[in-house]
């Protein structure tokens, strides 16, 4: 039931959320990351996400599995889009569902924080000025997924 995808087309957030639903749960949480119209004070028109795609799928699957352990259910879905996105387009959607809202919040937050720490994805910001630049981020630690817990 765990879903972890890297996709090139638009993300349907409602569909990601619906995919985790369960009548035995009472709390579902959807995180949606979108492309902002500014970065570091500069107007931005869009972002190109590059990825080490094969590895990104594996890392995303590992992160989702770790979140499922926090959650106590397998009802986790995470989808990251790559390619060139315009302002306001969805870059990542994370849905979790659980009988317990505390665990839902913790697991959802875990997924986005781990994505930022270790998903091999990069972004090039396209500024309204016509310039563009790769955005510096986190340096992943040389450890297996299990050690990230």
């Amino acid at each position: 039931m765990i879903r972890a995808d890297v996709v090139r087309g638009p993300i349907d957030t409602a569909e990601v959320l619906a995919g985790v639903g369960d009548a035995g749960d009472g709390a579902a949480l959807l995180f949606v990351g979108t492309v902002r119209n500014h970065a570091g004070g500069r107007p931005v028109d869009g972002i190109t996400y590059d990825a080490y795609e094969a590895m990104a799928r594996e890392v995303l699957r590992a992160i989702a599995g770790e979140a499922a352990e926090i959650l106590g259910t397998e009802r986790v879905a995470v989808v990251h889009r790559i390619g060139t996105l315009k302002v306001g387009e969805v870059s990542v959607a994370i849905a979790v569902s659980s009988p317990h809202r505390a665990e839902a919040y913790e697991a959802s937050r875990y997924v986005i924080e781990e994505i930022k720490k270790r998903l091999p994805v990069w972004k090039k910001e396209h500024y309204s000025s016509g310039e563009e630049a790769w955005v510096g981020g986190a340096v992943p630690a040389p450890v297996g997924p299990a050690d990230h817990r």
Partner: protein, 83 residues
Amino acid sequence: MALAVRTLFFAAYRDLVRTSELPLELADGATVADLVAELRSRGGPFAHLPPDPAVAVNRVYASASQPLGEGDEVALIPPVAGG
């Protein structure tokens, strides 16, 4: 004995060295650190690669001391920025 590996470059590193993939021959027993040193010693843009970048071996993050094996897929990982 020699060791053949594939080296992959992404994002800022790919733009720097102007290739996404480079086959390399290393001495038997070579580590991740040896591979990075070998790359940097090629000079030109390669000399501008950092001395201790994040590296994934066969799609798993590896330490600098990890030994490489025949056919390994070794990726130099710039600071990540997903989400």
